[in-house]
Structure formats: structure tokens, C-alpha cells
């Protein structure tokens, strides 16, 4: 009961804010609504016993990346959007991609399992499920190679950003 209510709240806020991100004209408001989406997703992560992921979501995405977004938007002081495509074309492409995503989601969720869908019965969780310790253990054993490759990728991105920003070096 409480769980259903909380889920409805977080999911509702997430969807509402996401719609706002798309439809609002002021870029700063859009960025703020995106923060709202990220925060309500963090709430849903907590309900799924993934506290660590929720904390990272708040610290990294809502707290750091979005602040940088805002920083740039504020620095450039964009008033209203400057459209890349003509409004008609933008709407056409928008609806096309939205439709594609819907079909894709429908396909993945409903198709293989028929009417019942593919959502399995929830397995009982280990007592430390979602804790930083359990997650760390998985990352450094089972998923060590993908994890390390991702970190190297990020390092390359950092070095690349510095090189691009400081062309005077060469």
C-alpha cells in the first residue's frame, strides 16, 4: 500500500517533470525539471533496494553533471530556444522517434512472454543486496574487465577534453 503510493508519487513526478523538460521553453527551467526527473528516479532506485545507485544518481547526475549543465546555460545566457530544424520537421522527427521507442519497449516487454509479459517473479534478495559492499564485490570480480575498460574510456575522454580545450599546447 505505502509502496504503491510511493511508486505512484515518484513515477508521476518523474513523468511530469520529463514532459516539462520537453515542452518548457526556458532552458534553465528544462534543466531544473531534468533534475526533478533524476531525483524521482533516485527515489525509485531506493524502493528497489538499490540505495548505492540512488546515492550515485543524486551525487553524480543531479548534483554534479546537472550543475555543469546549468553553469553552461547560465554562462551563455540563452533566452529561449534557437531551433536547429524547422518546427514542422522537428515535430515530425520527434513523433517518429517517440513511436519507435514505444514499439521497441512494447516488443521487449510483451512480445517474448505473450500476454503475461516477461517480468519474472521477484526473486528473494540477498540481505546485502544493493549495498556498496555487494556492488563493489561484483564490480571487482565478475565485471572487472568491463569496469576497467569503462574507466580507461573515461580517462581518455578527460585527456581528450583537456587537449581540445588547451590547443595552445601544440
Amino acid at each position: 500500500m505505502v509502496e504503491g503510493f510511493l511508486f505512484a508519487m515518484f513515477a508521476g513526478v518523474a513523468v511530469g517533470c520529463a514532459l516539462g523538460v520537453v515542452f518548457h521553453r526556458n532552458p534553465v527551467h528544462c534543466a531544473l525539471l531534468l533534475v526533478g526527473v533524476l531525483l524521482s528516479l533516485a527515489g525509485i532506485f531506493v524502493m528497489l533496494h538499490a540505495q548505492f545507485v540512488a546515492a550515485l544518481q543524486v551525487i553524480v547526475y543531479a548534483g554534479a553533471i546537472m550543475v555543469l549543465f546549468l553553469f553552461v546555460v547560465m554562462l551563455l545566457n540563452i533566452k529561449g530556444e534557437s531551433p536547429l530544424l524547422s518546427p514542422g520537421a522537428a515535430k515530425g522527427f520527434g513523433f517518429l522517434f517517440a513511436l519507435l521507442v514505444c514499439v521497441e519497449l512494447f516488443w521487449t516487454v510483451v512480445q517474448p512472454g505473450g500476454q503475461e509479459g516477461v517480468m519474472p517473479e521477484a526473486a528473494p534478495l540477498a540481505h546485502d543486496f544493493g549495498s556498496p559492499a555487494a556492488l563493489g564485490k561484483l564490480l571487482y570480480t565478475t565485471w572487472l574487465y568491463p569496469f576497467e575498460i569503462t574507466s580507461i574510456l573515461l580517462l581518455v575522454a578527460v585527456v581528450g577534453a583537456v587537449v581540445l580545450a588547451k590547443r595552445k599546447f601544440f
Binding site: 534553465v28 533534475v35 540505495q51 548534483g63 550543475v67 546549468l70 553553469f71 545566457n77
Partner: protein, 328 residues
């Protein structure tokens, strides 16, 4: 979830909230008094004994001031920005333990509102959301100095948050826990400031920078930016920013005490009293800093954060990890 649990939680929430909200006027009074004496003045002394009620009077005055909103301001964001600042500061205060478990009325009562098992991450999350209060306040005013203040604040707080987080990781390595209560309990015999002195110094610097206090108060540098991000705020909105700044000071001091200065442990006196003593000393230290150091230049601030604090914090983390591994 029985009735006793609810009452216990409610009482603890009231105590912590009341403590933070009533503590702020006291700290402001202390700051003005100490600053006064350090600058060879006497500070407030007219309202109440030793001028104790001066901040209350100032608060009342703010309360009755006209609430101005600039004509070109973004009304909605202008309204919620101060609220974000206060809410995040108060949310962070919920996980700080101020004493060990006590036995009262037949219940084992933990002396903190809640002990989430990721308390440190929760704290970092709350502080990182606190940036929005300052940044949005600066932007929504739609005026140049606040915008510059907001921009400075966002860059500064992001930079120092990083070093602050990394300086806390060695503590997590040593205790194997993210819970502040357990970190506190691990210091019964040895305060972490001894083995982790480097981390403590880094945390100290970052804490001052995170709370936008002198000598890192570039977001509200009055010599360049009038009053920075809160230039356009008046009345209770301004009071809310003021409140959040001092509440944040209490929070970061509380974390410093819990992680480095032996939490609530100390001889003879009970835990909460020791916590209070340490908190007061820490806040005094804050004021002392303000009276002593001139404000940093902006490039010095960024250089210090990225080129000194962060590398040293990372090195300290690596050394701690190696030492812990070698010792098993």
C-alpha cells in the same frame, strides 16, 4: 513500526531541528562577538545580556521587512531557491549522530534521527544539491552581480566537493562502513585525526569552501559583487539564505567531528555534551578563520582545489589503501 518508534522519531526530529534552528542565532551572535573582540571592538551588547538577543532582534527586523522581487526576476525559481538551500542543509543534519545509544523509557535510543547505511553518501548528495540554492538564487535574480556570484559558487562548490569526498574515503576504508554512527563508534580509543591528519586538513579546507565562508566566500565577495548571489534577496528570503549558511556550517562541523575528532567520545562528561563542546570549538574556529585570512583570488581558489587538495587527497587515499592492505 509501533507507536513508541513514531514518538521517538518525532522527538528526535524536533530536537535536531530545534537545535539547528535555535543554534543559528547563537552562532551568529558568537560570530559577531568574537569578530568584534578580534578586531578590537566589543561587538553587540545592547539587546539582552551581552547582546545575546541581538540576532533575535535582527531576525524580527528581517521578518517585517518588505519582500522585494526584482521586476525581471524568474518568480518561481526566485521563490524556491532559498528554500532549496535550507532544505538541503536540514536534510543533511538528519544523519549526524550526536551521541552513543542510550537506554531510556525501556527503549534503546540511537542519538541521531536516522542511520541510513550510506549516511556519508547521503550527506554528499545533500551538499551537492545545496549548490542549486546558491546557483539558482543568482540566476533567478536576473541581475549581473548575483549571476556572477552564482556562477562562481557553482564552479567552486563542484570543485571542492570532489576533494571533500575523496578526503572522507580513507575513513571509510579504515572502518569498512559508510554509516556515521559506526564511524563514530570506531573512534572510541583513537581519534581518526591522528592516523588521517592529511585527510583532516583537506576536509577542513573543503568544508570552509563548501559552506562559502571566508576566506572562500567568493560567491558573495562584497568588494567585487555587492553581495553576490543574494544581492536581490530581502526579508525572509534573505534570512533563509543566512540560515542555510549557518546550518551548513553546523553540518560540516558535525561531520568533521564524527569522522575525525572522535565523535561524541571524551572523558567524564556524557556523549552529547562532548559533541556540543567540540561543535562550539569548531564553529569558533570558523569565525577565527574569517577574522584572520584575506579572501582568495578566484584563480588561486581553483588552483588550490584542483592542483593541491585533490591530488593530495588521492595520494592520501592510495597510501591509506596500501598501508591497510599490507597490515592485513
Amino acid at each position: 513500526m509501533d507507536l513508541g518508534f513514531l514518538i521517538e522519531a518525532l522527538v528526535k526530529i524536533l530536537i535536531v531541528l530545534g537545535f539547528v534552528l535555535l543554534g543559528v542565532p547563537l552562532i551568529v551572535w558568537m560570530e559577531r562577538k568574537v569578530l568584534g573582540h578580534m578586531q578590537d571592538r566589543i561587538g553587540p551588547q545592547r539587546v539582552g545580556p551581552f547582546g545575546l538577543l541581538q540576532t533575535i532582534a535582527d531576525g524580527m527586523k528581517l521578518f517585517f521587512k518588505e519582500d522585494l522581487v526584482p521586476a525581471q526576476a524568474d518568480k518561481v525559481v526566485f521563490a524556491i531557491a532559498p528554500a532549496i538551500a535550507v532544505v538541503t542543509a536540514l536534510a543533511a543534519a538528519t544523519v549526524i549522530p550526536f551521541g552513543d545509544q542510550v537506554h531510556l523509557f525501556g527503549r534503546d535510543i540511537q542519538l541521531h534521527i536516522t542511520d541510513v547505511n550510506i549516511a556519508i553518501l547521503f550527506l554528499l548528495g545533500a551538499t551537492s544539491m545545496g549548490v542549486y540554492g546558491v546557483v539558482l538564487g543568482g540566476w533567478a535574480s536576473n541581475s549581473k552581480y548575483p549571476l556572477l556570484g552564482g556562477l562562481r559558487a557553482s564552479a567552486q562548490m563542484i570543485s571542492y566537493e570532489l576533494a571533500m569526498g575523496v578526503s572522507l574515503v580513507p575513513i571509510i576504508l579504515m572502518t569498512g562502513s559508510l554509516s556515521l554512527a559506526q564511524i563514530g563508534r570506531a573512534q572510541e580509543h583513537l581519534w581518526f585525526v591522528v592516523p588521517q591528519f592529511v585527510a583532516f586538513v583537506i576536509y577542513l579546507v573543503c568544508a570552509v569552501a563548501e559552506t562559502n565562508r571566508a576566506p572562500f566566500d567568493l560567491a558573495e565577495a562584497e568588494t567585487e559583487l555587492v553581495a553576490g548571489f543574494h544581492t536581490e534577496f530581502s526579508s525572509m528570503r534573505f534570512a533563509l539564505y543566512f540560515l542555510s549558511e549557518y546550518a551548513n556550517m553546523m553540518v560540516v562541523s558535525g561531520v568533521a567531528i564524527t569522522c575525525f575528532l572522535g565523535a561524541w567520545y571524551g572523558p567524564v562528561l556524557p556523549g552529547p555534551v562532548w559533541f556540543l563542546i567540540k561543535l562550539s570549538l569548531f564553529l569558533f574556529f570558523y569565525v577565527w578563520l574569517r577574522a584572520t585570512f584575506p579572501r582568495l583570488r578566484y584563480d588561486q581558489l581553483m588552483g588550490l582545489g584542483w592542483k593541491v587538495l585533490l591530488p593530495v587527497a588521492l595520494l592520501n587515499l592510495a597510501v591509506t589503501a596500501v598501508v591497510l592492505t599490507v597490515r592485513g
